[in-house]
């Protein structure tokens, strides 16, 4: 018990301090790299704004001939758009720049350097880079959500805010685990980047309410690739429409995915053969 306490309190605290410090260096170096290329930064910013305008425009086309899709009106569907924009921003800020690099690490054999550092390799691979322009997209997403509060006359409580944060964290965890799982297969197949692009296209589906899909698609996007979970449940929480079981299910699904992705990475590393010199 004493050893356990030492491990958790002493090393645990030291580890958190160390990881926070390393993470601050990761962020600092990423910002430095981004600032080296000023025009690129501007183009990325423009792309995020135009992307959001395009999505809202697409949504308005769908609603031009009908008031409701799958029981959701335009103002409510806009919440899903806001959640989607936040998650897309998270994807662009962390997942895209980092998990895309896994292919490079494995093809060029530079994963060797990561594995030989006294730091968790999954942490390094998932958080080494940060794309600051994605942060703007996250801000835009929150802006859309705030506008939706006004449109839908949502009364806010601490309880609903906490639930929104919990479900959003779960959504991000599911999304991250899916990306990480696909990226991990690179250890065997070397080039699986296309698979993450397929996942990205599925994520686009998350812009629409789960109820607007047919029954079979709903099953597919809730179980095999739980994309609809990711956007629909936080939106329902915001509207006060989500039953407790759905929230609990999302928490369970996200935890399962996270644990599985971590175990899968540890297992895959046993098959890492490194690149030849």
């Amino acid at each position: 018990m004493e050893i356990w306490n030492k491990k958790v309190y002493c090393y645990g605290f030291m580890n958190i301090k160390k990881y926070l410090q390393v993470y601050s260096y990761f962020n600092y170096s990423s910002f430095s790299i981004e600032l080296e290329y000023k025009i690129n930064l501007f183009i990325d910013l423009l792309t995020s704004i135009l992307g959001l305008i395009g999505s809202v425009f697409l949504l308005s086309i769908f609603f031009s001939n009908t008031d409701k899709i799958g029981g959701w009106d335009f103002n409510q569907a806009l919440i899903i758009q806001g959640i989607y924009t936040i998650l897309n921003g998270v994807t662009n800020t962390w997942f895209n720049p980092n998990l895309k690099e896994i292919v490079k690490y494995i093809r060029e054999g530079t994963l060797d350097y990561v594995l030989l550092k006294p730091i968790d390799s999954q942490f390094w691979i998932s958080f080494k880079r940060i794309s600051p322009t994605g942060l703007i997209e996250i801000l835009l997403g929150f802006f859309v959500l705030s506008y939706c509060f006004y449109l839908n006359n949502i009364s806010f409580t601490i309880w609903s805010l906490n639930l929104l944060i919990i479900t959003l964290i779960c959504s991000i965890s599911i999304l991250y685990s899916l990306w990480f799982l696909i990226s991990t297969t690179t250890i065997w197949f070397v080039k699986t980047w296309n698979a993450t692009e397929v996942l990205r296209s599925f994520l686009y589906m998350g812009r629409f309410p789960m109820d607007s899909f047919s029954f079979s698609l709903r099953i597919f996007f809730s179980t095999v690739i739980p994309i609809t979970f990711i956007t629909t449940i936080p939106s329902e929480v915001l509207l006060g429409l989500s039953p407790a079981w759905k929230i609990i299910l999302e928490i369970l699904v996200s935890m399962t995915f996270l644990i599985f992705s971590r175990r899968f990475w540890k297992y895959a590393l046993k098959f890492y053969t490194s690149a030849s010199s």
Binding site: T110, Y113, L115, L116, S277
Partner: protein
Amino acid sequence: MVTNIIEVKDINKSFSISSKRPGIQGTIKHFFNRKTIEKKVVKNINFEIKKGEIVGFLGANGAGKTTILKILCGLLYPSNGYISVAGSLPFEREASFLKKITLIMGQKQQLIWDIPPIDSFYLNASIYGIEKKEAIRRIKELSEMLEIDSELYLPVRKLSLGQRMKAELLAALIHRPSILFLDEPTLGLDINAQANLRKFLKIYNKQTGATILLTSHYMKDITYLCKRVICIHEGYITYDGKLEKLLTKLSPNKDVSIICKSIKDIENLKKLNLEIKNINDNQITFTINKLDFKNTLKEILNKFDIEDLQITEPPIDEVIGKVLINKK
């Protein structure tokens, strides 16, 4: 008594490799029905390395040198056998073990390309739990040893290969590892940069007592740094011992060219019971065994009035080349 820091017993390593026939037909077949073969790249390897030793791994491309280094530093799981590096099983990659070792690869880099090396050093320092003050002190100390200063503040992409390699070394040594695995560290460097790097490694070994394992195709790296070499051919160890002994074994003779003042001396020299390689006017070349060399040369110098003398040995690359292509 100096203890063994590395112990390797009966290590084997196999890889599954898929082969493809040329042409479009081969490509399509390869896509649908990939045939893999099991290739044994490391076979029954045994050796021990003492603390503070510098050991060179010699072998042709694909002999298995890099694979052995990667097994030793814990990147690859051996198919079977026992390894102990600094008292740990390398493939468990425990933090305490990783803090004791470093891997430097001449053809791969860990520095972040778009920002100055100094930022990568601070990142590495934080990973190894080194306080900023201590990191600054170590960077200063190592940069003085490596003779780099202003280059630390330029983006890595703007540095020459030699400067980049020095910065790579600094990044890899900031945590003061006691075992260095170097895979062709001087690859692509110019002669001066190679010499500087060798000099640095020798000083580092002397000052810190670090153990160094090195692979290199540049014989000067090996002869300057390593007293002991391990030769590897097709996954097997073909020689493990002193470099000097290997050179004597592979090249037992020296050539001595003597220019005499008169043809008469040449005639008298011929009468000595020595192997004559060449005669040209008043110049005669003998091949003399290294073991008799001192006495034979003494005899010649005492008996004959010679004008000039030249001793030649076959180039070391040529000698070592023999060991790289012959199994025994």
